[in-house]
């Protein structure tokens, strides 16, 4: 027999409720983690094999970190931006935005030094430029390469199988746990219909459940591996 209050129609006038910044931040972080799953790595007009892309990326980052002259930096910039220009505009925005953010943050960190030591200003600007270009290069690679292509490229570089296996598992669980965080916070949001004075208690709960789930997942994976003949000695393909 259902209680009387459940038979009545209830309408609420929700009070104002602020301070949801932490919740929103965690949800967007979870969203980014979960989105790794839909990373399709579509190729642009310029088709480059994944192994070549990976080697080029590594070479580019090493060259960028060693570059001392503005001219070399500008040449690398022309190369990276030339490649980026082959990408569709929608991808370009999502590649350039985090790069600009990282460069801006670096600039802010360098600002006191640049003001106090004007002589080193050019070097500081070069470092900011290096950060900007490195993030663009990594983002281009990320946008244009599927995870399984990356795994294949690493195998061809004779990276130990156990490393690749751990990388694959890590990515898989980042996606799973990201999805779990988003779902938990969504479910919380659907029931948080009034003023929640103990918001951070629910955040603690969400993170606690995520931690428990991650330990459970690792145990279950381990058990499933043992059931299929795993004996601590990983033999890669």
């Amino acid at each position: 027999m259902i209680p009387a209050w459940l038979k009545t129609e209830e309408r609420i006038a929700p009070p104002r409720d602020g301070g949801a910044f932490a919740l929103r931040s965690i949800k967007s972080l979870g969203g980014v983690m979960a989105r790794l799953r839909v990373q399709r790595g579509r190729n642009g007009r310029l088709r480059i094999p994944p192994l070549v892309k990976l080697l080029l990326l590594l070479a580019l980052i090493v060259t960028l970190s060693l570059a001392r002259h503005l001219l070399l930096l500008l040449a690398i910039a022309a190369l990276i931006l030339g490649y980026a220009a082959t990408l569709p505009p929608r991808d370009l925005v999502s590649i350039l935005r985090p790069a600009a953010g990282a460069a801006l943050l670096a600039l802010l960190l360098f600002l006191p030094a640049m003001l106090m030591h004007p002589a080193g200003r050019m070097n500081n600007l070069i470092v900011v430029g290096k950060i900007f270009l490195s993030v663009i290069a990594v983002n281009c690679f990320n946008r244009r390469t599927q995870w399984n292509e990356l795994t294949r490229a690493l195998r061809r570089l004779h990276i130990p199988g156990v490393f690749i296996f751990v990388l694959d598992l890590t990515l898989k669980y980042i996606v799973l746990l990201g999805g779990l965080i988003v779902d938990l916070l969504t479910a919380r949001e659907l029931r948080a219909v009034g003023r929640d004075r103990k918001k951070y208690r629910s955040v603690g709960g969400v993170l606690g459940v995520t931690f428990l789930r991650s330990t459970e997942l690792s145990r279950e994976t381990w058990e499933a591996m043992c059931c299929r003949g795993f004996t601590d000695d990983y033999k890669g393909l």
Partner: protein, 224 residues
């Protein structure tokens, strides 16, 4: 006038993907009971997400109680809270709904949010636990319960908000016979109390016992 009205809804998860819903239209009267069927991946959960304002269609209109539910509307915190109080959603996977330390806290989360006086909130928690016979689990951590128990706790937590519409994604899946029967009786009572029920299910017994209108989701559209 229908309580829920969907007009020509088109939804795809990304521009590159095939749309899951293609020009879907349906309407649900207040107090109706609708069973939604469809193959796996037909878009039942997607439709439920749209009904709950968790996803928004690329085109088409969703009206709830004559108000168009849009991203812009639900960005306003008060409107979102008002809407979510009227719409209760039981997820297919109860794991994602449970984040409190104990079953009592989990069920009490909604009533506390509503700002009910402590005694009334406590009474609601007691009532909901009694409905699902969860009294003995009151101080246990929801995370450590069995799948069926988690489902019941999640359902009790949704009911504690006293929503007008209940959207239930496979509510009887994975439950033992006794619990199934208790839940069927509860759903019948909720229906008799005037709640609007939308249930994704493949369970014939459930549709028959609730005398539900059966809609089938096929090729992104509703077929009666």
């Amino acid at each position: 006038m229908p309580l829920i009205e969907l007009e020509n809804i088109r939804f795809a998860y990304s521009p590159e993907e095939q749309p899951v819903l293609r020009g879907l239209s349906m309407s649900v009267e207040a107090g109706a009971c609708v069973a939604l069927r469809g193959d796996n991946g037909a878009g039942k959960t997607t439709l439920f997400r749209i009904l709950n304002g968790l996803s928004f269609p690329q085109s088409g209109r969703y009206l709830f109680d004559d108000t168009e539910i849009t991203h812009g509307l639900l960005k306003k915190q008060r409107e979102a809270k008002r809407f979510h109080q009227r719409m209760g959603y039981l997820f297919q996977n109860p794991d994602v709904m449970l984040f409190n330390a104990t079953v009592r806290d989990e069920i009490g989360f909604g009533p506390r949010q509503l700002g009910l006086p402590a005694a009334e909130a406590e009474a609601r928690i007691r009532d909901c636990m009694a409905l699902f016979e969860l009294e003995l689990l009151a101080d246990k951590a929801p995370y450590h319960l069995s799948g069926g128990q988690k489902k019941q706790v999640a359902f009790a937590a949704v009911l504690a908000l006293n929503p007008e519409v209940l959207i239930l994604d496979e509510p009887l899946a994975g439950l033992d016979r006794k619990t199934r029967e208790r839940l069927l009786a509860l759903l019948a009572e909720l229906r008799a109390a005037g709640k609007t029920l939308l249930i994704a299910t493949h369970d014939d017994a459930l549709c028959q016992s609730l005398n539900a209108q059966i809609l089938t989701l096929e090729d992104g559209q509703i077929r009666e």
